[in-house]
């Protein structure tokens, strides 16, 4: 029954977007064909997997936070923090040459994770101590991180040999994730897969995972059980933000190869939708991220082949979230037909 409701939810989202297509004078069948073209074509599918890596990392972290009922929307800002930290490390090592090439990436992964964690602990701490609304604080911090990142790339970190273009110097080879041979997919996908296993183990097998769920279910029950709310949400957000920071690193070191202004096209927000749609399940999130990666590629196909704005993928994502949310109602309450 619940599977049927999920299917019906997805189907409704298709119908509603179909109506939007019809109203904008677009053949809905052709539009959907383009939107899902990634799944019929190897090159596009590889591109979809590339897009899925940052989404996956963000969504996995958010799933952990949402399990603790901490509604973070800070993934986007944490991606920028991760981007700032990895660029700093690249510039720092280029100047000081302290780290040999082989050691750079393992070191960078740890440092990016740690600094992004600190950024993520701030809203968790504020919520624990002052009861600030975490949706608002994490969102405000997104704007701040993006402004700082853009300031750095246009100002002090601008490539002196870049002919005035607003980007940092290119990352050296040792600061790039190698590609899986024959594809455009970089090795940071294994960070994502590893993260999904770790999050699963944390939630299903550890005492901390149990505490996360207790805190998520009831604040007062957690308090009664002697679980420290501050400790749980801070730790949850440290992991969540650390993973989102790695998403930023994966974008720069894996795909773009340098810091650019506005380098994330909203992966932090797509991650929110993926986390909820995948029911906060770490393994389903891996698959769901690839699906959404494909959707983003499809959106670009739509834009280039049919002149539609990529905004339509946001519309489709939001509709999916709304219909799924509505479907929950029918799962919770059994409808009884009476004569």
């Amino acid at each position: 029954m619940s599977f049927a409701i999920s299917l019906a939810s997805i189907f409704s989202a298709f119908i509603i977007s179909g109506i939007i297509f019809v109203f904008s004078n677009v053949d809905p069948i052709l539009a959907y064909y383009n939107l899902f073209k990634s799944f019929t074509n190897t090159a596009l599918l590889s591109e979809a997997v590339v897009r899925s890596i940052p989404i996956m990392l963000v969504a996995l972290g958010l799933a952990l936070a949402y399990k603790a009922n901490f509604i973070s929307v800070g993934g986007e800002g944490q991606i920028y923090v991760g981007g700032i930290v990895i660029t700093f490390l690249v510039l720092w090592n280029a100047e000081n040459r302290l780290l040999p090439g082989q050691l750079f990436m393992p070191f960078a992964i740890i440092i990016v994770f740690l600094f992004s964690s600190v950024w993520g602990i701030i809203p968790a701490f504020l919520k624990a101590k002052f009861e600030t609304n975490e949706v608002l604080t994490t969102l405000m911090m997104n704007y701040i991180a993006q402004i700082i990142s853009n300031y750095l790339v246009i100002g002090p970190w601008k490539d002196p040999k870049g002919y005035g273009f607003p980007h940092s110097p290119a990352f050296p080879e040792y600061a790039r994730f190698p590609l899986i041979p024959g594809t455009t997919i970089n090795l940071s996908i294994f960070i994502g897969i590893l993260a999904s296993i770790v999050i699963y183990i944390i939630l299903a097998r550890t005492k901390f995972g149990f505490e996360v769920k207790v805190v998520g279910d009831s604040y007062s029950a957690a308090k009664y059980a002697g679980i420290s709310y501050t400790k749980v949400v801070c730790l949850v957000m440290a992991i969540s933000a650390g993973l989102s920071g790695l998403a930023g690193m994966s974008l720069l070191s894996g795909v773009i190869g340098r810091l650019r202004p506005d380098f994330s096209p909203g992966y932090g927000y797509t991650g929110i939708i993926v986390a909820w749609l995948c029911n906060l399940n770490p393994f389903i999130i891996v698959v769901g991220s690839i699906f959404f990666g494909g959707l983003l590629v499809g959106g670009e196909v739509l834009q280039s082949s049919m002149g539609l704005s990529v905004g339509i993928t946001d519309v489709f994502q939001a509709l999916l979230l709304i219909t799924t949310l509505s479907g929950e109602f029918f799962k919770r309450y059994r409808l009884v037909w009476r004569r």
Partner: protein, 311 residues
């Protein structure tokens, strides 16, 4: 430049920026007072801005354009109302979905406008006789476009509705204790639907003011987080329309510091720092006003909680 001119310029910008925030904050206060948390403000504002831009471009009539914005905000907030009131879903998630939907729809529909760089003439200011001759306050508060004046009037109207009418009393009691209100014969669901759609319409209108007043052309992300700041301003103003007036202009002032310091050639701190100020300040304000002492007495007790009628 002499200090008086600088101050006057600052105040003019403050009122422009603040009035946008004010209308959205008032809308969200009205919604939240009924117990419904609508985090879709940013999306409603953006979709309202786009709708009014399109209608103004086609008709040249700002009243029609503002009504279109109100309708756009109302339509989207009705989705939120249905999902969170009738289907009793998580209001935070639904609100986020509405934001993404509103921003996505605006970007989708607005793309041809953004590409063709269509321009509109900003609304003309209307001088209020006598009052506009006051120093500093005159040119800033009383020489603005009609939608800014609407924002002042809405403060009074919403305050009056909430505190001086029977409907307002019902609305507030639905937000405090819905089952009690229900037992007194108040229609909880209808009241919440009305509060959510009126609030949504106002958020749409704030988008109309944003674009008709100050931005001659459409681009993606035009709202730049103002909707979220409005949600924070609701807490800042303790869910009271009168306090929202001061809160919105305070934030308006902070939002104009960047432009002000640029115009007087202040170069000591990078101007990007001033761009982060409204967001930083929002966090600071949240910290101060969220602590139990300030908030618990004022926040509608049933905010964000779906109401299920006991059988």
């Amino acid at each position: 430049m002499d200090p008086l001119t600088i101050l006057t310029t600052m105040f003019i910008l403050m009122v422009q920026e603040g009035s946008i925030l004010l209308i959205a904050t008032l809308g969200e206060i009205f919604t939240e007072r009924s117990g419904i948390l609508n985090l879709g403000v940013e999306g409603l504002m953006c979709f309202g801005a786009l709708s009014s831009f399109v209608v103004y471009y086609l008709t040249g009539n700002w009243i029609t354009a503002t009504l279109a914005a109100a309708l756009a905000g109302l339509a989207l907030s009705l989705i939120h109302a249905f999902v969170s009131i009738t289907l009793k879903a998580n209001q935070t998630v639904s609100g986020l979905a509405i934001t993404i939907l509103g921003l996505g729809l605006s970007s989708f529909i607005g793309r041809p406008l953004a590409l063709s760089r269509v321009r509109i003439e900003p609304l003309e200011s209307v001088r209020i006789p006598v009052l506009s001759d006051l120093p500093v306050i005159g040119p800033s508060f009383f020489n603005q476009n009609p939608l800014v004046y609407l924002s002042y009037i809405m403060v009074i109207i919403l305050w009056f509705i909430l505190y001086k009418t029977g409907f307002g009393l019902n609305l507030r009691s639905v937000g405090e204790n819905p089952s009690m209100a229900d037992s007194l014969g108040i229609n909880v669901f209808l009241t919440r639907y009305i509060a959510t759609s009126v609030g949504g319409a106002l958020c749409g209108v704030s988008g109309a003011l944003l674009i008709l007043g100050y931005y001659p052309s459409w681009y993606d992300g035009i709202t730049a987080g103002r909707g979220w700041i409005a949600v924070a301003l609701v807490i800042f103003s303790s869910w009271n329309p009168l306090y929202a007036f001061f809160g919105a202009y305070f934030f308006g002032l902070v939002g104009t510091l960047n432009a002000t310091f640029q115009s007087i050639g202040f170069r000591v701190i990078p101007t990007d720092f001033f761009r982060t100020l409204p967001y930083l300040l929002t966090i600071v304000v949240l910290v101060i006003f969220s602590s139990t002492r300030f908030r618990k007495r004022k926040m509608p007790a049933s905010l964000g909680k779906p109401y299920t009628r006991e059988l």
